[in-house]
Structure formats: structure tokens, C-alpha cells
Symmetry: C2
Subunit: 397 residues, 2 copies
């Protein structure tokens, strides 16, 4: 009586959300301080002060309809102009307001872009495993097919030789995500040059544009002075899907953008199709107050140092115990080897010690768990005892 | 190279947006005070004070992640509980938090509901002409077919006998919109009883649920003490799509809900499919700050009296000049007979006097113009001269 596909999507909550809800219920029984919830990527570091200040200033100085009224569907012109200017200063590029389409966050950015680019049901989008599980949902909604290519298990960089084999005539685009959720890896210059070379070669071979869709909500969440390369510098046919959810700790506010540089093949057609896809999916405009807020906060971020100290604390602690994981350069996740082949069983065992860690199966890369460290550092300290017990369980067994 | 369908949707701006943009350009030449822009439904009456007050209070008393963090996909529980309680008090019903799914406004409410209900590409949704043009876009996005049934040209109530002929085995649901955009009509008790009777009979005949989708962004924008009936009291299989855009003058903030009462057939399945459809379309959650804001403003509205005085001013003024239109009971539009058969040409002629009025063709009901009166009353007064000139043009011609 209802759409079977939508019913199943609604009934099968993501494994992340499932653990998160389990944690809330268990906390009610054993006490919140005894639950070690590393499940969800909900930033705990507060939004920077400029967010609060700019909201209050806007409310006090602007007329109601100037703040809360419809903006144009692509977003307020002044907002987009200011983002363009900021990006031009940061990346030495030549962007204009017309290159930006404001969205309700990264999920909207991706859904809209994929819908705009999908021409036929034979179209394929390639994703690199481990990947954010919702990519599958958004590609399916656009009416295209998902092709997953595994990253290098040593360092989680792209295996360009494997990617090459996956590209065929039906490939419309490749989604990349650096800094990566869940691995925390930042793609190196070497990876990007190699990727760009491949895509240029393959575009020529198939005589069609291959779009690189760069999903960048973690662009500013990087450590040890690492710089995240500006992808269009490496490959022209790049569309950036951005969100302020993580950089400004505003995940619930749903604010981000799609950036289509002018040198993208058929850039104006892509932009027009993006406008159409946004309209088709029911996005009238991005939330108007927060369009203005992010304009006032360009270049600002939440206090990344807090995530960095969490990263060190957890990485060092788990390493000492003998857990294995690649040291992350960005985002706020550790991607740790499961102590048994089946990560779902491993995650279940972890629950015995009230340790909530996400099995990697839905990320398309079995045998790991994702540990989100955008949490209270005190919880990390308390959790080591549980991590040790979990380790002991496997050593004694 | 991009989706043709999305490109066309992006390239063909709605006629309303087209006029609106034309007005902005023309204003730059002849001066804003000489343009009479009745094109767009962007509320001019400010949001009530409770909006500003509750935002500032939330910012000052709550932690950043309590305001800006992800809520659950269906919306914050407390918010939904409070809306349910408010509705129970107002309509004497028995709603719970679980009946509500918070959305990014009415367009999202409709897109998600239609996607959740569409089972096959043979499915049909019936809309009553004149209708909001985007209904066609959202139904198409869901993969279903649009069937339009004309309203009674005398009073714009539903012609239930015509609707009866349009319902067949493929009908999944009917979208109604009362108070109506563009006609301003509020469906009478008589209409609703007759509609409910028909739908019950037809559900039995075809042995399947027929869903009534009630799009109610103008529920509170009514005049002369009129009460908008609570549709589920008349017909159980009613799903309400609501938005705070108009009642609280927050159109840019994208905040609304889907209400699925428990007595709807397969209510839990419909709700689950709605969750799935929201996920599929890329809606992660409704904007978190404004979820809390509308909770603090339940029962409040912008100052409707201002729209009412505009309504009287414009209706009386145009009537005196000999324009013909049904007196609207709600919303903020007059739906006026075109002075020639082709309303597109009529709207073009109106432009000669810098009068921007929307031809009704895209509303599925040719021969009219929609005049939006959520505008500055001074503009209405200045516009009468132009309306008179337009009338003279036709009398002299």
C-alpha cells in the first residue's frame, strides 16, 4: 500500500542510528557515564561565537523579511558572492556567485548533483570503499547504479589501477570524500594527480565528461598543519559538495552548497540542471537565516584543537593496547581493525562493555569498526577500561 | 550531458519567479515606487515577536549542540509532542508525537509524502485546478501521473461529480489546498462532506485506500472569523502537509511537518515510508533551531489583520473598476478574470503599466490572473491608476 522501496529505507535504520538509539536506552538503565558512545558524528565542540553573534546582530538590525523571506532558489546573491570571494582568497581561484548553489547541507548537495547528472538508468557512479553509506541511497534515488572500488587497505588512498578497471562507457562520475569518513585519510597530492590523469585519459577515451564529485564536509577538520588540496586545481570537471555541518558545528541547521567552477564541461548546463533537480526534490531554497550566518563566519571554524587532542588520546591509547588503525589526518573518526573477521559480531561483543562502535560493513569495507571521537574527552578516558576488556575477551578466547 | 528533464526544469523558471525577476530589473530603471509587483507570495508582514525572542532565548540558555545538533530524522521528540498537544487542544483530536514528521517546509512535505505513497508508475494523483504549479513537479518526481480536475468556476469549490469521474483504479490520492493558492477559497463543510463521502465510496469500490493529501500552509490566513475545518474529522485517510512559511512569515527558513493521524489506513507503514522517502531525497532533518522556535510560537501568527485590510482595499478597488473576482476567504491572493481570453497576453499588457500580475495558465485554469496582496498597502493604492489604465486599454480597444 506504500512504496516498498521507501518503506524498507525507512524501516532499516542505518547501523549508526541504531547504535545511537541503543546507547540512549542503555544509558537510562546503567547511567550515562557508563555508556561509551562512539557511534555518531554529531560535533560536540560548540559552534564558534560568530554564529551566535551574527544571528543576534541580524535579528537586531535587519527587517524580518530580509532575514526570513525566500531567497532565490540558488541562494542569496550577496551570500554566494562572499563565499566566492573567500574561496578566491584562499585557493587563488576565480569563482563568482554564479558558480555556487546554496543547499540544505551535504546530503542535499549530493542528492541534487547526482539527480542533475543522471541521464539514463544505465549511468554509473563510482564510490571508493570505505564510503559514507548514504551515497548508495542518493545514487539510487537519482536512478543510477553504484559501483564500489576498494581503497588501499594500507593507507586508504585510492587504488587508481582498480578504479581504472571500474570505469566504463556508463560511468558518469566518481564521488570522493577527503578528509574521509570513516577512515580519516586525506588524499595526497600523488593520489590526486594520479586520479586526475586517469580521469582525463578516460574522458578522452570515451569522448565524454567524467565528473569528479568531491564531498567535502570535513575540509577544515585536519591536523598537524595538513592542507587539503583544492581539487579543481587537479581536475577541471570537479563539482564540490560542501556543508558547514562539521566546520561550524551546525549539522542540524542544514546549510551547505554545490560549487560548479566555470571551467567544468557544460558548466552552465550542469548549473541549470542542478537548479532543476533542487526544484524537483522539493528544495525551495537553503535556510535563509543561516545563509546570512555562514556569510558572517567565512573562514571561522569550531575549535579543531579539541578534536585533535581527542584524536591523540584515543589513537595512542588504543595503539598501546594493540589495536591497529591508520593514524587519521582529518575528520573525527578512527577506523580500527576488528579483532575478529566479522565486525558485526565484534561490535556486538563491544556492547557487552557498553562500548558502542560501528561495524564497517555498511561502509562497504568489512572487518573494521568506526570510532567517532567528536565526544567528551572524559568519556574517552573512561572508555579505555572497556576497550581493554574487549581486547582481553579475544586474547583469552 | 546532463539530465534533460532536470535541465528543462531548471531552465524554465516558474512564471511567478520570471515576473518577480523582471520586476526587480525594471525597478532599477523606473524606480521601485513605480513598479506594482503582485507576483510572488513572499509574506511582507513581519514574523511575530515570539520568533525573535525565542531565538535569542535559545541562544542564551541552551548549549550549542542542543540547538544546532542533528535531531532525529523525524524531528525532535519534544517539538513533535508539543505540536501534538497544541493540535489536540485546538481540534479536539488525539495526536501524539509519533504522528508527526518534521520537514523543510511544505514543498518537502509534499515531495516526501508523494514519494512515500507512489507504488508504481501507473499511480495517479488528482489535483484540483487552479492548483499550485509545483504539484506537477513533485508528483512527477515521485514517478506518478498527474490528473487535474477543474474546480467550479463560480466559487472554486470542488466539483465532486467531476472528481468522481476522474477517480479510477490507479488513483492513489487527491491533493487539496484550502485556503487555496491561487483562488483564496476555503472549502466549505458541504464540499468536505461530499468529498469525504465520495472517497469512502470509491475506496470501497476499488478495495484500496485513497489518501487525501491536505496541503495547508494558509490554514491560519483566513478572514471574517472563518474557521478552516480539520480535514481528518471528515475523512480518516487524510495526511496533512503543513508549513510555517506563511503563518509565521518564515518562508525562507523551510520548516513544516507531515501529519499522519493513527487512524489513517496502514498509518505506521505510511509513516515508515515517509521516513524512507525523506532519507532518499536527502533530507537529514528539518532545520534544528527553527524546530525549537516554532515550538515556542505555537498558536501565534503574523498580524493577519494587515493582509485583511489589503484584501478589502484591493478587492473593493478592483470591483469598483469592473474587474471580476470571487471574494477570497483566505490566503493572500485575488484570482481575477482576465480582460481577454488569453491571460498571458493580458499579463503582458499589464506590464506596460508596470503592473506585475501572474497569468493563470500554469495554475491549470486559463483566463485569470493571480494578484498576490501580501504587499505594502501604499503600493496597492498607487497601483489603482495602473489597473484603471489597463481596464481603459481594453474598453477603448
Amino acid at each position: 500500500m506504500v512504496s516498498k522501496e521507501m518503506y524498507e529505507l525507512g524501516a532499516k535504520r542505518s547501523v549508526i542510528r541504531d547504535l545511537f538509539e541503543y546507547g540512549k536506552q542503555k544509558a537510562a538503565i546503567v547511567g550515562k557515564e557508563n555508556i561509551f558512545d562512539f557511534s555518531i558524528g554529531n560535533p560536540t565542540v560548540p559552534a564558534p561565537e560568530c554564529v551566535k553573534e551574527s544571528i543576534i546582530k541580524l535579528l537586531k538590525t535587519k527587517k524580518s523579511d530580509e532575514i526570513h523571506g525566500y531567497t532565490s532558489a540558488q541562494g542569496d546573491f550577496e551570500v554566494r558572492k562572499n563565499i566566492a570571494d573567500y574561496m578566491n582568497g584562499k585557493f587563488n581561484c576565480q569563482l563568482k556567485a554564479e558558480n555556487f548553489y546554496m543547499t540544505c547541507g551535504a546530503a542535499a548537495s549530493l542528492s541534487i548533483t547526482l539527480k542533475a547528472l543522471t541521464v539514463s538508468s544505465e549511468d554509473e557512479f563510482i564510490i571508493i570503499a570505505p564510503y559514507f553509506p548514504e551515497y548508495r541511497v542518493f545514487i539510487k534515488n537519482a536512478g543510477a547504479k553504484v559501483i564500489a572500488v576498494p581503497a588501499d587497505p594500507e593507507d586508504f588512498q585510492i587504488q587508481v589501477n582498480l578504479l581504472e578497471k571500474a570505469i566504463d562507457f556508463h560511468t558518469r562520475g566518481i564521488i570522493i570524500n577527503s578528509p574521509n569518513n570513516p577512515s580519516g585519510v586525506v588524499y595526497s597530492e600523488k593520489t590526486l594527480r594520479s586520479l586526475a590523469g586517469l580521469l582525463k585519459r578516460k574522458s578522452k577515451e570515451y569522448k565524454k565528461a567524467l565528473y569528479l564529485i568531491s564531498d567535502e564536509p570535513y575540509r577544515e577538520i585536519v591536523y598537524d598543519g595538513i592542507q587539503v588540496p583544492y581539487i579543481p586545481d587537479y581536475y577541471e570537471n570537479t563539482i564540490i559538495c560542501y556543508s558547514y555541518s562539521k566546520s561550524l558545528s551546525l549539522p542540524g541547521e542544514r546549510i551547505g552548497y554545490i560549487l560548479i567552477p566555470s571551467f567544468v564541461e557544460n558548466a552552465r548546463d550542469v548549473y541549470t540542471a542542478v537548479c532543476g533537480a533542487g526544484r524537483s526534490l522539493g528544495y525551495v531554497c537553503a535556510p535563509s537565516l543561516f545563509q546570512r550566518v555562514i556569510m558572517q563566519c567565512l573562514g571561522k571554524t569550531s575549535d579543531i584543537a579539541l578534536y585533535d587532542s581527542n584524536r591523540k588520546l584515543l589513537y595512542d591509547g588504543l595503539n598501546k593496547m594493540g589495536y591497529r588503525c591508520v593514524r587519521p589526518d582529518g575528520a573525527f573518526y578512527l577506523f580500527v581493525r576488528s579483532l575478529e573477521e566479522n565486525a558485526v559480531d565484534f561490535s556486538e561483543n563491544a556492547k557487552k562493555f557498553n562500548l558502542l562502535i560501528v561495524p564497517s560493513d555498511d561502509f562497504g569495507c568489512p572487518g573494521y569498526v568506526r570510532i567517532s571521537y567528536c565526544v567528551d574527552p572524559e568519556m574517552i578516558k573512561r572508555s579505555f577500561y572497556a576497550f581493554q576488556k574487549l581486547k582481553d575477551l579475544y586474547q583469552s578466547g
